[in-house]
């Protein structure tokens, strides 16, 4: 069996340098935010207190980081050891997605200097959905670094430490499945309290279930997406067989999700809102069509052998789940009183800066650490 190895090669590629530049620009906006307050760089307001940073960097960022969770479900809960080669790359994206969501939270919260209050028992509010999200995400970031530690230990040849880590790893693997199940569903529950401020196309008490199922198939889509891209640019072992199986699982999950999603809107009697031709209706249709098409495609067995088709399906699924979260947190949210929101240049640059950081770290990791199976 082939083992994972660094892909080697130059670090300072054009892609890396462009990311570096965007990151430097974002630093200027970050400085402005900390010197003059959130209003100086963002378009957030008392009507839209949450903008791009929470919706994209935190809610979507952590969902995009669900590859590790979704693969762990397959390998450990459903006992499918053959998927093991896909775990390490997936874990790496999770690591970045979640760690940088943490960075985004520090930028976003107003009173960041006392952010640690949520870890102090006398300040904790057990009724708060957001507290559960914060604690679980915080704990999961730590768990991800522990889960990923053997990769570092291999690089530095610390064999004893690695053996010890491998012995206790089962606890962290179990936590690595439990924690995302808790906080990814809770990210849906977060918006339940908004009630009438959220369009009935998205407000449902099933939000936690919808967020949970969608983060799992999103996790698989990310694994397919990333393996395809890395596979086209670097000499790594061809995983098309495994990706085909993962895509098959994905199709079934999407089918279950869509049945629940549509039945819920129909039973609550709001399907008419979807066909009014306005922004919200169209967003709802788009979000679900972007799932419906890849689902249909992936139900055809022949397509599960075609890497290109699977890649395109994965792209569509990623877009759909990202849109679902944007819709639930921003587009479908209307506080009334004529408030409007569109992210400012500063907000967009800070988000881009965080994504750039992620890409730079990704490039360094795959070239210097044993992540992928080389040819």
């Amino acid at each position: 069996m082939k083992t994972e190895q660094p892909l080697e090669g130059k670090i300072l590629t054009p892609t890396f340098l462009i990311c570096c530049l965007i990151f430097l620009i974002s630093l200027i906006f970050m400085a402005k935010r900390f010197l003059y307050g959130l209003g100086a760089v963002s378009n957030m307001s008392d009507g839209y207190p949450w903008g791009l940073w929470i919706a994209f960097d935190v809610v979507i960022g952590t969902a995009l980081g669900c590859g590790g969770y979704a693969m762990a479900l397959l390998v450990y809960v459903f006992n499918k050891g053959e998927y093991h080669p896909l775990v390490r790359p997936a874990l790496m994206t999770s690591l970045f997605g979640y760690s940088l969501a943490g960075v985004a939270v520090v930028i976003d919260v107003g009173r960041y200097w006392q952010l640690y209050n949520i870890f102090l028992p006398w300040y904790m509010n057990p009724n708060s959905v957001l507290l559960e999200v914060a604690l679980c995400v915080g704990a999961y970031v730590a768990v991800l670094w522990v889960e990923f530690s053997p990769t570092f230990l291999t690089k530095f040849g610390a064999d004893n430490a690695k053996a010890f880590m491998n012995k206790i790893m089962f606890v962290f693997i179990a936590l690595g499945i439990l924690l995302p199940t808790m906080h990814q569903s809770s990210l849906g529950t977060v918006m339940v309290v908004t009630g009438s401020k959220l369009s009935p196309l998205w407000w449902t008490r099933l939000l936690p279930l919808l967020f949970l199922i969608s983060c799992i198939f999103l996790g698989y889509a990310i694994v397919v997406f990333e393996s395809s891209i890395t596979g086209s640019r670097y000499p790594i072992h061809d995983e098309t067989d495994l990706l085909g199986k993962v895509s098959g699982v994905m199709a079934w999950l999407i089918a279950i999700y869509l049945v629940i999603r549509l039945a819920d809107v129909v039973i609550r009697g709001h399907l008419n809102l979807a066909f009014r031709g306005d922004l919200l209706g169209n967003m709802f249709l788009l979000e679900n069509i972007l799932l419906l098409i890849p689902m249909a495609v992936l139900f055809v067995p022949a397509n599960l052998k075609n890497a290109r088709v699977m890649f395109l399906c994965a792209v569509s699924i990623v877009l759909a789940t990202v849109l679902f979260r944007f819709n639930t947190y921003i587009i479908g949210f209307d506080p009334g009183d004529g408030w409007h929101y569109f992210p400012s240049v500063g907000e967009i640059f800070i988000s881009l800066g965080i994504v750039s950081m992620e890409i730079m770290a990704f490039l360094w990791f795959i070239k210097r650490l044993p992540i992928y199976r080389r040819l």
């Binding site: 008392d46 107003g110 949520i118 957001l130 693997i173 009630g195 008490r205």
Partner: protein, 317 residues
């Protein structure tokens, strides 16, 4: 593949049951009015729009002035903000000739924190910065606990908590029913200085009775109305207007400690139309069903440890 699908369905069915459970055991999270709750009864038909309450509020709470338009001479906020805790707004329709009439009329409305029976902000806040007094039911804010996440703003159905967007060291700002004055035996500044009794302070139980009395008044007849405080001996005689047959806040959104009466329907006055069961209760129900005593997560954790061990054993073989 076949087995995998079936296992997947099993797992999903389990989580589906969990998420569907809340509606079945509804009402368990609903909160009742506190017996000694304090509040305000705002009667739009008595309000003359003089805005003395706004001036009094700013003075009592040391709030900065807020300017709108080119002339920066006098405080003239257009809405609630981090500088304005209380505001009088006006509804106008057509040729606004007559007060408290929906068509070709106008009416005033006073907006500030409603001090909900089951406040969304208190439930939402991860750091317990928003608290509801267990006796008076007043919803207060503690900046030393607050992390500035603004979930209270997202959650509040009345858009009451405001954030200092232009301050590098910001805090949330909201009406706290002049708790600092109550501690000194005084009453909220807005009610204290209201000349007509439109803003009436008192125990919520008494305010509800007073609101019911007004609902039963015959329009056009003269009645006595207490000024400032429900127990006050200072009374004024007014001609009763025709009230909308509704006490806003009696049950809306699970009930509020600030109650309102008006001659114009409340949605026209800009108040949200909320179901009687608070969204707070719905959200807490989901949360409590899944996480009560952390039993479910702990059981799940045990199950996962077993599954991971099993998978690792298989890998070694």
């Amino acid at each position: 593949m076949k087995i995998k699908r079936r296992d997947f369905l099993k797992g999903l069915a389990g989580s589906a049951v969990l998420a569907m459970a809340p509606p079945a055991i509804a009402s368990s999270s609903e909160k009742n009015r506190l017996p000694d709750a304090l509040g305000i009864l705002y009667d739009s038909t008595l309000c003359v729009g003089c805005q003395v309450c706004m001036v009094a509020c700013k003075r009592a709470n040391n709030m900065p002035l807020e300017f709108y338009g080119p002339q920066k001479r006098w405080d003239n906020p257009v809405d609630l903000s981090s500088k304005t805790l209380n505001i009088i707004k006006v509804y106008e329709n057509g040729t606004p000739k007559e007060k408290d009439r929906e068509i070709d009329g106008y009416a005033f409305v006073k907006r500030h924190c409603m001090h909900c029976v089951d406040p969304a902000c208190v439930s939402a806040c991860p750091a317990s910065a928003m608290t509801k007094d267990t006796k008076t039911g007043i919803v207060s804010y503690n900046k030393n606990a607050c992390i500035g996440c603004r979930y209270c703003q997202v959650a509040c159905p009345f858009n009451i908590p405001k954030f200092e967007w232009d301050n590098p060291f910001p805090k949330i700002v909201k009406c706290q029913l002049c708790s600092h004055l109550l501690a000194k035996g005084q009453i909220p500044a807005c009610s204290n200085e209201c000349p007509t009794g439109a803003s009436l302070f008192g125990p919520v139980a008494d305010l509800v009775k007073e609101a019911e009395r007004r609902q039963n008044m015959t329009a056009g007849k003269y009645y006595e109305f207490p000024v400032s405080e429900i127990s006050s001996t200072k009374k004024q005689v007014h001609k009763a207007k025709k009230y909308i047959p509704k006490i806003y806040g009696e049950n809306d959104g699970g009930g509020t400690q600030v109650l309102m009466l008006a001659g114009v329907s409340f949605d026209k006055l800009g108040l949200p139309m909320l179901p009687d069961r608070s969204y707070t209760a719905i959200a807490e129900n989901i949360q409590h069903t899944l996480y009560k005593g952390m039993i479910l997560p702990i059981v799940a954790f045990g199950g996962l440890i077993f599954l991971v061990k099993r998978a690792e054993k298989k890998k070694k073989e």
